[in-house]
């Protein structure tokens, strides 16, 4: 991404959250500051026969009231429901009426990791238990990865260059970077971020095949990245949708710098399995800082990817230490409260990081007691840490080697 001066960088003026930690920005933020874990027994289906029975589910989400127009409840998957609801909140939070803006200067760019998994499982059941004619008309528009962007575009009449990046768990940062490219190219406003929801039997079974999920049964200790007891991660659903505006557009309508600015991004990919070449994370984080025209000393907090898989935790801790020095910057991973949300995970981290910048407080990594021996990071655990925050670095890694970093500024 081209680097630009900070005052020209696009701003995030609205946040909408549908996450296990809560529906709505303040519900989420107060749960995060309180370290209130949302990881609990899976309730969306009977998971008692599966080796993983814990997940982060969005509590009390009623698509019937949250999704507008209501016909979309049956026409789209839960993943899209969660995004539609978050987008309504984000636009209201930004206090912007899309109907008053030029249609081609608004766009939607979301990330999706796995599309309408539950919808797809239901329709495949109809096909194989019955006949092709039992497959409903909405399978064709609910299952595919572009469903959320398409529906958001229609709902809010955003006719600019819309997009979808499906880069697994790093895709959320890439979507925000693409939104920034669009504002650099003349767009005023982009709805971005993402959600995922694959907590159905087939979705969970697919996730199990990676061997990276935690089979621990204690919700408090099931997902403890960087901890000596780390044994994998817990899956979750939901995410965040953000309103990203060009600095000029936000200023023109009096929205100012909003929650903060998107200052820089970089993406890279790990070398093939078995290669002796170094993994991408350190380089990508450095590139993102360069794109933001910042030095490591300018970064006041790192939102870690926090895989919860010991080898990956170690690699991340080493990358952070190599870039910043040993214990030189606070590192946190509030995602231990929600589990990993796939396409929605990084957007939620960005939302949380913006709230941290706003309030000058680093939320803790709940669950993790202390970094495992040899991990030289200043991991914020236990209680929130108040300190002046200017810039945050958000890291994300996805299955296969996707690696992204995003720099945010107040």
């Amino acid at each position: 991404m081209n680097s630009a001066r900070a005052e020209e960088a696009p701003v995030i003026t609205g946040i909408g959250i549908t996450a296990p930690t809560g529906i709505g920005v303040e519900a989420h933020w107060s749960a995060v500051l309180a370290g209130k874990s949302a990881i609990a027994a899976i309730e969306r289906f009977d998971a008692s026969g599966y080796p993983v029975r814990l997940a982060g589910e969005v509590p009390g989400f009623d698509a019937g009231t949250a999704v507008r127009p209501q016909r979309l409840v049956s026409q789209t998957d839960r993943w899209t429901h969660l995004a539609l609801a978050a987008a309504e909140e984000a636009l209201a939070d930004a206090d912007v009426d899309p109907a008053g803006l030029p249609e081609y200067e608004m766009a939607v760019v979301t990330s999706s990791s796995s599309g309408g998994t539950e919808f797809g499982q239901r329709e495949m059941t109809a096909l194989y238990q019955h006949a092709p004619s039992w497959v409903g008309a909405y399978q064709s528009i609910a299952w595919f990865y572009a469903a959320t962007t398409g529906q958001l575009s229609i709902r809010h009449k955003m006719r600019g260059p819309c997009g979808v990046l499906a880069c697994e768990q790093a895709g959320g940062l890439d979507a925000i970077a693409q939104a920034r490219r669009l504002t650099d190219g003349g767009a005023r406003l982009v709805l971005t971020g993402g959600t995922d929801a694959s907590l159905c039997p087939y979705g969970l079974t697919a996730q199990l095949s990676t061997g990276r999920l935690s089979t621990a049964t204690d919700p408090e200790r099931a997902y403890v990245p960087f901890d000596a007891g780390a044994r994998g991660y817990v899956p979750g659903e939901g995410g965040a949708i953000l309103v990203l505006e060009s600095a000029a557009a936000a200023t023109a309508r009096g929205a100012g710098p909003g929650y903060g600015r998107v200052l820089g991004h970089a993406a890279g990919f790990d070398p093939p399995p078995g290669s002796s070449r170094p993994r991408a994370l350190r380089r990508v984080a450095e590139q993102a800082l360069r794109a933001a025209r910042l030095d490591p000393a300018d970064i006041d907090v790192v939102f870690a990817d926090a895989a919860g898989v010991p080898a990956d935790d170690r690699a991340e801790a080493e990358a952070v230490t190599a870039l910043f020095g040993a214990r030189a910057v606070p590192v946190t991973a509030p995602k231990t409260l929600t589990g990993r949300l796939y396409g929605g995970g990084a957007p939620l981290d960005v939302a949380t990081a913006l709230l941290a910048l706003r309030d000058g407080v680093v939320p803790p990594t709940a669950g993790t007691l202390r970094p495992a021996p040899g991990l030289e990071i200043d991991l914020v655990t236990g209680a929130p840490r108040e300190c002046a925050l200017r810039h945050a670095l958000v890291l994300a890694r996805g299955h296969g080697g996707f690696t992204s970093a995003l720099v945010l500024g107040r």
Binding site: M1, Y104, Q121, P132, R159, A166, C167, T205, A280, F402
Partner: protein
């Protein structure tokens, strides 16, 4: 000075043709690759026709361990990428891996693998609580389409940005557009970019049956894809892949690369109208074309050929005919417009890249591929659709467009290397 992007390598795995040269022969001879479905028993389905790839994994050079792991869509992409790199003559090992990007489009990802495994684990749909013990180790790789981009990245050794772009049926144009942006902005110097889809499976057929989007013309599969013809009755589902090597222009020139063409304009718009419906006025597609021309600093009269979306549905053919008239004016009547979907079907997200590959080859050969099966033009489609037979045609600029579920409308402009149009310059994205 702004960075420009050229195409230096092409790889293709398409119905009726594995490989770039076979693909061009098929197009220039106007042959159709549509037939009765053989990949599964199509008898229970409304539409029983598809354009299938006769694909032999061993002949294509894939190793058994790759074939075990990879969905058919991934196989297509990897084989196409390999051919494209070979065709480019580029020594990828000599490049810094972090300057090499990958951008792959796909509308439906690894549908086949996902469905096949579901049938096993659910005991043909009997068990909602599927058996997790029998899941294959790479099952998750089927659930996430990002696998397709990861496989290509491993194949070519890319460590720069790797993206899976999934904007429905415009994925293959948008993935190339994304790669162009990465090179123009300086994030990458070389990109391996294209798209792949292998959707020929019962669930895909059932879902298009449900909305009557695919042709019911089961009696005459070879002539079932009939864009712009008054007798068309839906699109023919297909599979395939095309992958390009894109390079920064001056670097490609310096190494004396053979340049198929330059990508001089790219723009996307959404209709925000309906997930599957199109308004007959073609307004947003026209806007995308106009913006792409503007970025390329070209006039409508510079366009020498239009590679249409031409899916063979009544609403599409009228929608885009209106879009061409709206954006190109009277010039729309003066230039050839054709749809290769008449020959290779509609491979959802893959087709956009396959069509860009066709455009690059058309520029190189100065031949316009025909619209096969077009014998009785729809009176409401009154442009020059190059019926049945390919045509020698001198052209410097070609336009390729796509339109997809979700309302996506994309336009891309290619210019012949060294032509005045290529020199006109692009303002960057």
């Amino acid at each position: 000075m702004s960075r420009r992007v050229v195409i230096t390598g092409i790889g293709a795995v398409v119905p009726g043709a594995v490989g770039r040269e076979a693909f061009w022969r098929l197009l220039s001879e106007g042959r159709t690759a549509t037939r009765r479905i053989t990949l599964f028993d199509p008898a229970p389905f409304r539409s029983q026709v598809a354009a299938e790839v006769d694909f032999d994994t061993a002949a294509a050079g894939l190793e058994p361990r790759q074939v075990r792991r990879m969905d058919r869509a991934a196989c297509f992409a990897v084989v196409s990428a390999r051919e494209a790199v070979r065709d480019s003559g580029l020594d990828l090992a000599a490049l810094p891996p972090e300057r090499l990007a990958v951008s792959i489009g796909s509308a439906v990802g690894c549908t086949m693998g996902l469905e096949e495994e579901y049938v096993v684990l659910s005991d043909r749909g009997r068990k909602w609580l599927v058996d997790h013990e029998y899941g294959v180790p790479h099952l998750y790789g089927y659930m996430v389409p990002s696998t397709l981009a990861a496989e290509v990245a491993w194949e070519v050794g890319a460590e720069g940005p790797v993206a899976l772009v999934s904007t429905g049926c415009t994925s293959g144009l948008d993935s190339i557009g994304h790669a162009v942006q990465l090179i123009e902005e300086g994030t990458a110097d070389v990109a391996v970019a294209g798209a792949t889809d292998a959707p020929l499976s019962p669930i895909t057929s059932a879902c298009f049956d449900a909305i009557k989007a695919t042709t019911p013309n089961n009696a005459d599969p070879e002539h079932a894809s009939r864009p712009f013809d008054r007798d068309r009755d839906g699109f023919v589902l297909a599979e395939g892949s095309a992958v390009l090597v894109l390079e920064e222009r001056t670097a490609a020139e310096r190494r004396g690369a053979r340049i198929y063409g330059e990508i001089v304009g790219f723009a996307g718009r959404s209709n925000a109208y309906h997930m599957t419906g199109l308004r007959p006025d073609g307004r947003e597609m026209a806007e995308a074309i106009t913006v792409a021309l503007d970025r390329a600093r070209l006039d409508p009269t510079d366009v020498g050929y239009v590679n249409a979306h031409g899916s063979g549905t009544k609403q599409n053919d009228r929608h885009e005919t209106a879009a061409f008239k709206r954006s190109l004016g009277a010039h729309a009547y003066d230039i050839p417009v054709s749809s290769i979907k008449s020959m290779v079907g509609h491979s959802l997200g893959a087709i956009g890249s396959i069509e860009v590959a066709a455009c690059a080859l058309a520029l190189r050969h100065q031949v316009v591929p025909p619209t096969a099966n077009l014998h009785h033009p729809d009176p409401q489609c009154d442009l020059d659709y190059v019926p049945v037979t390919a045509r020698d045609h001198s052209m410097d600029v070609v336009l390729s467009v796509g339109s997809g579920f979700g309302g996506f409308q994309t336009a891309m402009l290619l210019a012949r290397h060294g032509s005045a149009a290529a020199a006109a310059g692009r303002s960057g994205s």
